[in-house]
Symmetry: C2
Subunit: 319 residues, 2 copies
């Protein structure tokens, strides 16, 4: 099964009335900083707090439509797992999520609250092994976080929605981890805005995608070093060829820029975003030359962040 | 000059194209917690990060329209000062702001960034004295944060906007400090939704308004004890009679509830709000019985909060 404009349109039909049509924000200060006209696609306001719900729900609905009643299983650091947990609940399936450490306690709690069964493992290698055991012999249906065609098609619906909300975008920025989101955006853009230039945004501590695209093979990422917990993975076998064909270029962002971009989002835009989202905002804040004077869309992918330190600092004083 | 439906309509004309038409958010989890249908009026997304810009701009425009070129001056802990600083800049006036400590460093920096001249004083009594000196002999035009009819009319425009965005609200909740916001909402509601019940929401540590309304005199608030820095004042001579006539009732909220409501807004709604806004969200989170089953509007008044502890906790690790 390939990801096509048609499969993305079908995904949009499946998601209609289930996923939120997320709003688009503008911000005069962001326009001033970037010298661009910026449109922020607020997928951090999507159900479960990230865009991942779209792909997870669509992929799980494909499973359900085939008459399958076995549990679905995935490996996820959090947002795809949360999306799949809610999707399974809505569709009457059971969801199992294998989580490699380190994982955000907030995301673990959210997955459990949606009724998912969790398997927390020490690292990614161990998680892959547990996933293999769970899905052995077809006992559970694996739904990969970014390499599943149903997932990619679901993420592509963001492009259809954004094209209706904001006509004639010149450029679109999105965070780049496994490439599921950007693959969906690329395939959808071919149809609705063929001249759109799409840029992936990667943290320097997990910036293997540029190498993978240049070498045309998946460069492993054994020890990613970034706070952007959603972007610690390498590309997949389906996302690599799509991105090689369509992606215009990649911006690499360092950790200091991620914190600054979060600070900008919280203090100026009053939006709670997670570090992975901030990675796509950073190129605007440093006013990348190819963005200047352009109509630029940017996907805020999620807002699931651990704010414990904030609440402890705000603990009410004893009067 | 009285505050009337007509003066609020005129304020709306003045603010058209200058103030943002702020969005209304809904949140399934908030509806579930409150057993109500809740519409969140996002004035934390207003220019300068709070609704105060509306009243400040309208009041300053009245000054300017009279041909006055003297500086405007006010006493403010932050949001009205920020609103007035930007308003004055846009209108070509100069703004002076007297700030009683304790004041948020974030708000002080923002007022200075808008070009306001600041006078930081040790406490409110000293601030009143400085304000008196600055405006003595008509050297500057004082614009009171909540007792000025132009300010109140400006805040009332929120009600006109909300009534267009969300028809047939049963109840409206808003934070109650000096009463400027609620007075404007009350007068405007009389015209656009006469059966609307309006509730003021007060922190327990500065809950003098209930007494003031009952006794029909302004009960002083010499030592307010609340993190809701926008709500530490008593009512004013103009707001007391308006609220006595129109306000349905008051909800009192404790400091623990303020923190919990902020946490809900950040973690579930992904919105950065300040403690004063959280005061109006808290009655929904405790599912006040008079709200259940109702269509409830709630005004998020501002999002200017000091997040320093969060950024220091997120400081990038050295890899």
């Amino acid at each position: 099964m390939d990801v096509t404009s048609e499969s993305i349109r079908q995904a949009a039909e499946v998601l209609a009335g289930v996923a939120h049509v997320t709003p688009v924000m503008t911000c005069a200060q962001l326009d001033a900083r970037s010298s661009a006209r910026v449109f922020v696609k607020c997928e951090h306001l999507q159900r479960t707090g990230s865009f991942k719900f779209r792909g997870a729900y669509h992929a799980a609905s494909v499973v359900q439509a085939s008459g399958e009643t076995k549990p679905v299983v995935t490996l996820s650091s959090g947002n795809h797992g949360q999306g799949l947990a809610l999707a399974a609940k809505l569709l009457g399936l059971s969801a199992h999520v294998v989580v490699p450490q380190p994982a955000s306690p907030v995301k673990l709690a959210a997955m459990e609250a949606q009724g998912a069964r969790l398997y927390v493992t020490d690292n990614r290698a161990q998680a892959e092994q547990v996933l293999g055991e769970l899905s052995a012999g077809g006992a559970m249906i694996p739904l990969h976080a970014f390499n599943d065609p149903g997932v990619i098609a679901g993420q592509g619906t963001i492009m259809l929605e954004l094209a209706r909300q904001v006509p004639a975008l010149d450029v679109l920025l999105a965070p780049l981890g496994g490439g599921g989101l950007l693959s969906g955006l690329c395939v959808a853009a071919r149809q609705v805005n063929p001249s759109l230039r799409l840029y992936g945004c990667e943290p320097r501590g997990a910036a293997e995608a540029a190498d993978s695209l240049r070498l045309n093979r998946i460069v492993p990422m054994p020890s990613p070093r970034t706070m952007a917990d959603g972007l610690r993975t390498s590309l997949g076998s389906r996302t690599l060829p799509i991105l090689r064909e369509h992606l215009t270029d990649i911006f690499v962002v360092d950790e200091r820029e991620i914190v600054e971009a979060m600070q900008f989002a919280y203090e100026r835009m009053k939006q709670v975003i997670e570090p992975s989202s901030a990675v796509a905002l950073a190129p605007l804040l440093r006013a990348e030359s190819v963005l200047r004077g352009r109509r630029v869309g940017v996907v805020m992918t999620g807002g699931n962040v651990d704010l414990t330190s904030l609440w402890s600092s705000l603990a009410p004083p004893v009067y």
